[in-house]
Amino acid sequence: MMINFAALEVGKHFYWHIGKLEVHGQVLIVTWIVIAVLVILSSLATRNLKRIPDGLQNFMEYALEFVQDVAKTAIGEREYRPWLPFVGTFFLFILVSNWLGALVPWKLITLPEGELAAPTSDINTTVALALLVSGLYFWAGISKKGLGYFARYVQPTPILLPINILEDFTKPLSLSFRLFGNILADELVVGVLVFLVPVFVPLPMMALGLFAGSIQALIFATLAATYIGEALEGHGEEEHGH
Protein backbone atom coordinates (compact mmCIF):
# COMPACT_ATOMS: atom_id res chain seq x y z
CA MET A 1 0.00 0.00 0.00
CA MET A 2 2.75 2.41 0.96
CA ILE A 3 4.61 1.59 -2.21
CA ASN A 4 1.53 2.38 -4.26
CA PHE A 5 1.04 5.61 -2.45
CA ALA A 6 4.55 6.90 -2.81
CA ALA A 7 5.74 5.35 -6.01
CA LEU A 8 6.88 7.58 -8.83
CA GLU A 9 5.74 6.49 -12.22
CA VAL A 10 7.18 8.62 -14.94
CA GLY A 11 6.38 8.03 -18.56
CA LYS A 12 4.14 5.06 -17.94
CA HIS A 13 0.77 5.16 -19.58
CA PHE A 14 -2.47 3.28 -19.21
CA TYR A 15 -2.92 2.29 -22.83
CA TRP A 16 -6.27 1.81 -24.45
CA HIS A 17 -6.41 0.35 -27.91
CA ILE A 18 -8.96 1.72 -30.33
CA GLY A 19 -8.55 -0.24 -33.52
CA LYS A 20 -4.91 0.15 -34.37
CA LEU A 21 -4.60 3.36 -32.39
CA GLU A 22 -3.20 3.68 -28.92
CA VAL A 23 -4.47 6.30 -26.49
CA HIS A 24 -3.51 7.28 -22.97
CA GLY A 25 -6.48 6.15 -20.93
CA GLN A 26 -5.44 7.97 -17.76
CA VAL A 27 -5.37 11.27 -19.61
CA LEU A 28 -8.76 10.75 -21.16
CA ILE A 29 -10.37 9.71 -17.86
CA VAL A 30 -9.22 12.83 -16.04
CA THR A 31 -10.07 14.97 -19.07
CA TRP A 32 -13.62 13.69 -19.00
CA ILE A 33 -13.83 14.49 -15.31
CA VAL A 34 -12.51 18.00 -16.02
CA ILE A 35 -15.01 18.48 -18.84
CA ALA A 36 -17.82 17.16 -16.65
CA VAL A 37 -16.88 19.56 -13.84
CA LEU A 38 -16.84 22.52 -16.22
CA VAL A 39 -20.07 21.61 -17.98
CA ILE A 40 -21.93 20.88 -14.74
CA LEU A 41 -20.68 24.09 -13.09
CA SER A 42 -21.60 26.24 -16.05
CA SER A 43 -25.01 24.69 -16.58
CA LEU A 44 -25.81 24.99 -12.88
CA ALA A 45 -24.69 28.61 -12.94
CA THR A 46 -26.71 29.55 -16.01
CA ARG A 47 -29.76 27.43 -15.29
CA ASN A 48 -31.62 30.23 -13.57
CA LEU A 49 -30.05 33.51 -14.59
CA LYS A 50 -30.99 36.51 -12.49
CA ARG A 51 -30.46 40.19 -12.92
CA ILE A 52 -29.01 40.36 -9.43
CA PRO A 53 -26.56 37.46 -9.43
CA ASP A 54 -26.05 35.27 -6.39
CA GLY A 55 -24.07 32.22 -5.39
CA LEU A 56 -22.72 30.21 -8.28
CA GLN A 57 -23.89 32.65 -10.94
CA ASN A 58 -21.95 35.38 -9.20
CA PHE A 59 -18.83 33.23 -9.07
CA MET A 60 -19.09 32.17 -12.70
CA GLU A 61 -19.70 35.77 -13.75
CA TYR A 62 -16.53 36.69 -11.94
CA ALA A 63 -14.68 33.95 -13.85
CA LEU A 64 -16.22 35.12 -17.12
CA GLU A 65 -15.28 38.72 -16.50
CA PHE A 66 -11.76 37.64 -15.65
CA VAL A 67 -11.25 35.83 -18.98
CA GLN A 68 -13.14 38.59 -20.77
CA ASP A 69 -10.62 41.02 -19.38
CA VAL A 70 -7.73 38.83 -20.56
CA ALA A 71 -9.20 38.56 -24.07
CA LYS A 72 -10.12 42.24 -24.21
CA THR A 73 -6.64 43.35 -23.19
CA ALA A 74 -4.89 41.14 -25.73
CA ILE A 75 -7.26 41.26 -28.71
CA GLY A 76 -8.90 44.63 -28.29
CA GLU A 77 -12.34 45.87 -27.38
CA ARG A 78 -13.81 45.58 -30.88
CA GLU A 79 -12.73 42.12 -31.98
CA TYR A 80 -12.40 40.04 -28.83
CA ARG A 81 -15.97 38.79 -28.70
CA PRO A 82 -15.82 35.83 -31.15
CA TRP A 83 -12.55 34.65 -29.61
CA LEU A 84 -13.68 34.85 -26.03
CA PRO A 85 -15.06 31.28 -25.87
CA PHE A 86 -11.73 29.89 -27.06
CA VAL A 87 -9.56 31.98 -24.78
CA GLY A 88 -11.94 31.44 -21.88
CA THR A 89 -12.10 27.70 -22.40
CA PHE A 90 -8.32 27.48 -22.62
CA PHE A 91 -8.09 29.19 -19.27
CA LEU A 92 -10.85 27.25 -17.56
CA PHE A 93 -9.85 23.86 -18.95
CA ILE A 94 -6.19 24.26 -18.02
CA LEU A 95 -6.99 25.74 -14.62
CA VAL A 96 -9.44 23.00 -13.68
CA SER A 97 -7.06 20.34 -15.04
CA ASN A 98 -4.14 21.67 -13.01
CA TRP A 99 -6.15 22.08 -9.86
CA LEU A 100 -7.86 18.71 -10.08
CA GLY A 101 -4.46 17.16 -10.70
CA ALA A 102 -3.05 18.85 -7.62
CA LEU A 103 -6.02 18.58 -5.25
CA VAL A 104 -7.55 15.17 -5.91
CA PRO A 105 -5.62 12.29 -4.35
CA TRP A 106 -5.49 10.31 -7.57
CA LYS A 107 -2.94 7.88 -6.14
CA LEU A 108 -5.70 6.24 -4.14
CA ILE A 109 -7.08 4.94 -7.45
CA THR A 110 -4.76 2.33 -8.89
CA LEU A 111 -4.65 1.66 -12.58
CA PRO A 112 -3.11 -1.42 -14.17
CA GLU A 113 -0.36 0.82 -15.46
CA GLY A 114 0.46 4.49 -15.11
CA GLU A 115 -1.45 6.78 -12.77
CA LEU A 116 -4.16 9.37 -12.94
CA ALA A 117 -2.86 12.94 -13.05
CA ALA A 118 -3.63 16.32 -14.48
CA PRO A 119 -4.26 16.00 -18.25
CA THR A 120 -1.92 18.95 -18.71
CA SER A 121 0.99 16.87 -17.45
CA ASP A 122 0.73 14.78 -20.60
CA ILE A 123 2.52 16.11 -23.67
CA ASN A 124 -0.34 15.05 -25.96
CA THR A 125 -2.77 17.38 -24.23
CA THR A 126 -0.51 20.41 -24.23
CA VAL A 127 0.57 19.91 -27.84
CA ALA A 128 -3.05 19.49 -28.86
CA LEU A 129 -3.96 22.75 -27.11
CA ALA A 130 -0.93 24.58 -28.53
CA LEU A 131 -1.68 23.40 -32.08
CA LEU A 132 -5.25 24.59 -31.62
CA VAL A 133 -3.85 28.00 -30.70
CA SER A 134 -1.78 27.97 -33.90
CA GLY A 135 -4.81 27.00 -35.93
CA LEU A 136 -6.87 29.69 -34.26
CA TYR A 137 -4.49 32.53 -34.97
CA PHE A 138 -4.02 31.45 -38.57
CA TRP A 139 -7.79 31.25 -38.90
CA ALA A 140 -8.18 34.66 -37.25
CA GLY A 141 -5.64 36.29 -39.57
CA ILE A 142 -6.85 34.66 -42.76
CA SER A 143 -10.54 35.19 -42.03
CA LYS A 144 -9.85 38.86 -41.48
CA LYS A 145 -7.32 39.62 -44.21
CA GLY A 146 -7.53 36.71 -46.59
CA LEU A 147 -4.21 35.85 -48.23
CA GLY A 148 -2.99 39.32 -47.32
CA TYR A 149 -2.38 37.82 -43.92
CA PHE A 150 0.82 36.25 -45.21
CA ALA A 151 2.21 39.67 -46.05
CA ARG A 152 3.17 39.92 -42.40
CA TYR A 153 5.96 37.41 -43.01
CA VAL A 154 7.90 39.98 -45.04
CA GLN A 155 7.19 42.85 -42.71
CA PRO A 156 8.91 45.03 -41.73
CA THR A 157 11.59 43.63 -44.08
CA PRO A 158 11.90 40.41 -46.16
CA ILE A 159 15.13 39.64 -44.32
CA LEU A 160 13.03 38.62 -41.35
CA LEU A 161 11.12 36.03 -43.41
CA PRO A 162 12.95 33.00 -41.90
CA ILE A 163 12.49 34.30 -38.37
CA ASN A 164 8.83 35.02 -38.97
CA ILE A 165 8.29 31.51 -40.30
CA LEU A 166 10.30 30.05 -37.45
CA GLU A 167 8.04 31.85 -35.05
CA ASP A 168 5.03 29.84 -36.20
CA PHE A 169 6.89 26.78 -34.97
CA THR A 170 8.28 28.23 -31.77
CA LYS A 171 4.91 29.53 -30.62
CA PRO A 172 3.19 26.13 -30.25
CA LEU A 173 6.44 24.57 -29.10
CA SER A 174 6.94 27.04 -26.28
CA LEU A 175 3.24 27.03 -25.36
CA SER A 176 3.05 23.27 -25.10
CA PHE A 177 6.36 22.67 -23.39
CA ARG A 178 5.91 25.47 -20.88
CA LEU A 179 2.60 24.06 -19.70
CA PHE A 180 3.68 20.44 -19.84
CA GLY A 181 7.00 21.10 -18.09
CA ASN A 182 5.53 23.18 -15.30
CA ILE A 183 2.75 20.80 -14.41
CA LEU A 184 4.80 17.65 -14.76
CA ALA A 185 7.68 19.14 -12.81
CA ASP A 186 5.38 20.14 -10.01
CA GLU A 187 3.85 16.68 -9.86
CA LEU A 188 7.29 15.11 -9.84
CA VAL A 189 8.54 17.39 -7.07
CA VAL A 190 5.50 16.66 -4.95
CA GLY A 191 5.86 12.97 -5.79
CA VAL A 192 9.52 12.88 -4.76
CA LEU A 193 8.83 14.79 -1.55
CA VAL A 194 5.95 12.47 -0.66
CA PHE A 195 8.27 9.56 -1.45
CA LEU A 196 10.96 10.91 0.88
CA VAL A 197 8.94 12.57 3.69
CA PRO A 198 5.27 11.58 3.49
CA VAL A 199 3.98 14.14 6.04
CA PHE A 200 3.80 17.94 6.07
CA VAL A 201 6.95 18.60 4.03
CA PRO A 202 5.24 18.29 0.62
CA LEU A 203 2.46 20.73 1.64
CA PRO A 204 4.28 23.97 0.69
CA MET A 205 5.17 22.39 -2.65
CA MET A 206 1.53 21.43 -3.17
CA ALA A 207 0.43 24.99 -2.41
CA LEU A 208 3.04 26.23 -4.84
CA GLY A 209 1.66 23.74 -7.36
CA LEU A 210 -1.80 25.26 -7.05
CA PHE A 211 -0.33 28.71 -7.57
CA ALA A 212 1.79 27.57 -10.54
CA GLY A 213 -1.24 25.79 -11.98
CA SER A 214 -3.35 28.94 -12.02
CA ILE A 215 -0.45 31.03 -13.32
CA GLN A 216 0.15 28.58 -16.17
CA ALA A 217 -3.53 28.66 -17.11
CA LEU A 218 -3.42 32.44 -17.15
CA ILE A 219 -0.20 32.49 -19.20
CA PHE A 220 -1.55 30.05 -21.75
CA ALA A 221 -4.81 31.94 -22.16
CA THR A 222 -3.07 35.31 -22.30
CA LEU A 223 -0.56 34.13 -24.90
CA ALA A 224 -3.27 32.49 -27.00
CA ALA A 225 -5.23 35.74 -26.92
CA THR A 226 -2.10 37.74 -27.71
CA TYR A 227 -1.28 35.57 -30.73
CA ILE A 228 -4.84 35.91 -32.02
CA GLY A 229 -4.69 39.64 -31.41
CA GLU A 230 -1.41 39.89 -33.29
CA ALA A 231 -2.81 37.97 -36.23
CA LEU A 232 -5.79 40.30 -36.34
CA GLU A 233 -3.59 43.34 -36.04
CA GLY A 234 -0.64 42.07 -38.05
CA HIS A 235 2.09 44.69 -38.25
CA GLY A 236 5.38 42.99 -37.43
CA GLU A 237 5.70 43.60 -33.69
CA GLU A 238 5.56 39.91 -32.74
CA GLU A 239 6.58 39.17 -29.23
CA HIS A 240 9.07 36.45 -28.61
CA GLY A 241 8.76 33.90 -25.86
CA HIS A 242 7.65 34.90 -22.40
Binding site: I3, E9, K12, V23, V27, S42, R51, L84, P85, T125
Partner: protein, 158 residues
Protein backbone atom coordinates in the same frame (compact mmCIF):
# COMPACT_ATOMS: atom_id res chain seq x y z
CA UNK B 1 9.66 1.40 0.13
CA UNK B 2 12.28 1.00 -2.49
CA UNK B 3 13.50 2.68 -5.61
CA UNK B 4 12.31 -0.21 -7.66
CA UNK B 5 9.29 1.65 -9.05
CA UNK B 6 11.53 4.37 -10.48
CA UNK B 7 13.87 1.86 -12.07
CA UNK B 8 10.85 0.04 -13.39
CA UNK B 9 9.54 3.26 -14.82
CA UNK B 10 12.80 3.92 -16.61
CA UNK B 11 12.73 0.43 -18.08
CA UNK B 12 9.20 0.90 -19.24
CA UNK B 13 10.16 4.24 -20.72
CA UNK B 14 12.70 2.57 -22.89
CA UNK B 15 10.34 -0.15 -23.91
CA UNK B 16 7.23 1.79 -24.77
CA UNK B 17 5.65 5.11 -23.85
CA UNK B 18 7.77 7.62 -22.02
CA UNK B 19 7.28 11.30 -21.42
CA UNK B 20 7.17 12.22 -25.10
CA UNK B 21 4.89 9.48 -26.25
CA UNK B 22 2.70 10.95 -28.99
CA UNK B 23 -0.25 8.91 -30.12
CA UNK B 24 -3.95 9.18 -30.89
CA UNK B 25 -4.49 10.94 -27.56
CA UNK B 26 -3.41 14.18 -29.24
CA UNK B 27 -6.15 14.50 -31.90
CA UNK B 28 -8.71 13.15 -29.45
CA UNK B 29 -7.78 15.85 -26.96
CA UNK B 30 -8.01 18.50 -29.67
CA UNK B 31 -11.49 17.33 -30.70
CA UNK B 32 -12.62 17.06 -27.10
CA UNK B 33 -11.39 20.56 -26.46
CA UNK B 34 -13.27 21.95 -29.45
CA UNK B 35 -16.39 20.16 -28.23
CA UNK B 36 -15.87 21.68 -24.81
CA UNK B 37 -15.56 25.11 -26.42
CA UNK B 38 -18.87 24.54 -28.23
CA UNK B 39 -20.63 23.30 -25.09
CA UNK B 40 -19.28 26.06 -22.86
CA UNK B 41 -20.13 28.62 -25.53
CA UNK B 42 -23.79 27.66 -25.37
CA UNK B 43 -24.05 26.90 -21.64
CA UNK B 44 -21.66 29.43 -20.21
CA UNK B 45 -20.35 32.27 -22.38
CA UNK B 46 -23.40 33.31 -24.38
CA UNK B 47 -26.01 33.13 -21.58
CA UNK B 48 -23.80 34.93 -19.07
CA UNK B 49 -22.66 37.56 -21.57
CA UNK B 50 -26.29 38.21 -22.50
CA UNK B 51 -27.24 38.48 -18.85
CA UNK B 52 -24.39 40.87 -18.17
CA UNK B 53 -25.23 42.95 -21.24
CA UNK B 54 -28.90 43.20 -20.38
CA UNK B 55 -27.98 44.06 -16.81
CA UNK B 56 -25.67 46.81 -18.03
CA UNK B 57 -28.45 48.14 -20.26
CA UNK B 58 -30.86 48.05 -17.35
CA UNK B 59 -28.40 49.85 -15.07
CA UNK B 60 -27.69 52.48 -17.73
CA UNK B 61 -31.39 53.05 -18.41
CA UNK B 62 -32.26 53.24 -14.75
CA UNK B 63 -29.35 55.55 -14.15
CA UNK B 64 -30.41 57.86 -16.99
CA UNK B 65 -33.97 57.79 -15.72
CA UNK B 66 -32.82 58.64 -12.23
CA UNK B 67 -30.64 61.46 -13.57
CA UNK B 68 -33.60 62.87 -15.52
CA UNK B 69 -35.77 62.68 -12.42
CA UNK B 70 -33.13 64.34 -10.34
CA UNK B 71 -32.81 67.16 -12.86
CA UNK B 72 -36.57 67.52 -12.88
CA UNK B 73 -36.70 67.61 -9.10
CA UNK B 74 -33.96 70.23 -9.00
CA UNK B 75 -35.82 72.30 -11.58
CA UNK B 76 -38.97 72.03 -9.49
CA UNK B 77 -37.09 73.07 -6.39
CA UNK B 78 -35.67 76.08 -8.26
CA UNK B 79 -39.13 77.03 -9.52
CA UNK B 80 -40.53 76.70 -6.05
CA UNK B 81 -37.77 78.88 -4.62
CA UNK B 82 -38.33 81.51 -7.24
CA UNK B 83 -42.08 81.52 -6.71
CA UNK B 84 -41.65 81.72 -2.98
CA UNK B 85 -39.29 84.66 -3.36
CA UNK B 86 -41.71 86.44 -5.66
CA UNK B 87 -44.63 85.84 -3.37
CA UNK B 88 -42.63 87.06 -0.43
CA UNK B 89 -41.69 90.19 -2.31
CA UNK B 90 -45.31 90.80 -3.31
CA UNK B 91 -46.42 90.28 0.24
CA UNK B 92 -43.78 92.71 1.45
CA UNK B 93 -44.92 95.31 -1.04
CA UNK B 94 -48.54 94.80 -0.01
CA UNK B 95 -47.67 95.20 3.64
CA UNK B 96 -45.74 98.37 2.92
CA UNK B 97 -48.57 99.80 0.84
CA UNK B 98 -51.09 98.97 3.51
CA UNK B 99 -48.92 100.53 6.20
CA UNK B 100 -48.46 103.70 4.15
CA UNK B 101 -52.20 103.85 3.54
CA UNK B 102 -52.94 103.32 7.19
CA UNK B 103 -50.45 106.01 8.15
CA UNK B 104 -51.95 108.39 5.70
CA UNK B 105 -55.48 107.71 7.00
CA UNK B 106 -54.29 108.11 10.54
CA UNK B 107 -52.60 111.42 9.79
CA UNK B 108 -55.69 112.67 8.01
CA UNK B 109 -57.93 111.64 10.85
CA UNK B 110 -55.68 113.34 13.37
CA UNK B 111 -55.56 116.50 11.28
CA UNK B 112 -59.33 116.48 10.92
CA UNK B 113 -59.80 115.95 14.61
CA UNK B 114 -57.43 118.82 15.37
CA UNK B 115 -59.27 121.10 13.03
CA UNK B 116 -62.61 120.20 14.56
CA UNK B 117 -61.29 120.66 18.05
CA UNK B 118 -59.91 124.09 17.22
CA UNK B 119 -63.17 125.05 15.59
CA UNK B 120 -65.11 123.96 18.67
CA UNK B 121 -62.67 125.78 20.92
CA UNK B 122 -63.08 128.90 18.83
CA UNK B 123 -66.86 128.55 18.93
CA UNK B 124 -66.82 128.02 22.65
CA UNK B 125 -64.63 131.09 23.13
CA UNK B 126 -66.99 133.14 20.96
CA UNK B 127 -69.99 132.00 23.00
CA UNK B 128 -68.21 132.82 26.21
CA UNK B 129 -67.26 136.25 24.92
CA UNK B 130 -70.81 136.87 23.83
CA UNK B 131 -72.33 135.80 27.10
CA UNK B 132 -69.71 137.76 28.92
CA UNK B 133 -70.76 140.85 26.94
CA UNK B 134 -74.40 140.17 27.65
CA UNK B 135 -73.64 139.66 31.30
CA UNK B 136 -71.64 142.88 31.37
CA UNK B 137 -74.47 144.72 29.67
CA UNK B 138 -76.97 143.39 32.18
CA UNK B 139 -74.63 144.21 35.01
CA UNK B 140 -74.18 147.72 33.74
CA UNK B 141 -77.97 148.08 33.56
CA UNK B 142 -78.30 146.78 37.06
CA UNK B 143 -75.48 149.01 38.22
CA UNK B 144 -77.17 152.11 36.86
CA UNK B 145 -80.49 151.02 38.45
CA UNK B 146 -78.83 150.35 41.76
CA UNK B 147 -76.93 153.62 41.66
CA UNK B 148 -80.17 155.45 40.91
CA UNK B 149 -81.81 153.69 43.84
CA UNK B 150 -78.89 154.49 46.05
CA UNK B 151 -79.10 158.10 44.93
CA UNK B 152 -82.90 158.28 45.56
CA UNK B 153 -82.39 156.77 48.95
CA UNK B 154 -79.73 159.21 49.79
CA UNK B 155 -81.71 162.08 48.36
CA UNK B 156 -84.86 160.87 49.96
CA UNK B 157 -83.36 160.64 53.38
CA UNK B 158 -81.77 163.97 53.08
Amino acid sequence: MSFQPILLAVEVTEKSGGLFDFDATLPIMAIQFLLLVAILNSTFFQPLLQTIDSRNDYIRDTNNDAKARLAQAEQLALDYERETAETRKTAQIMIETAQAEANRIKAEAIAQANLEAQAQIAAAKATIEEQKAIAFAQLEGEVSGLSRQILERLVGTV
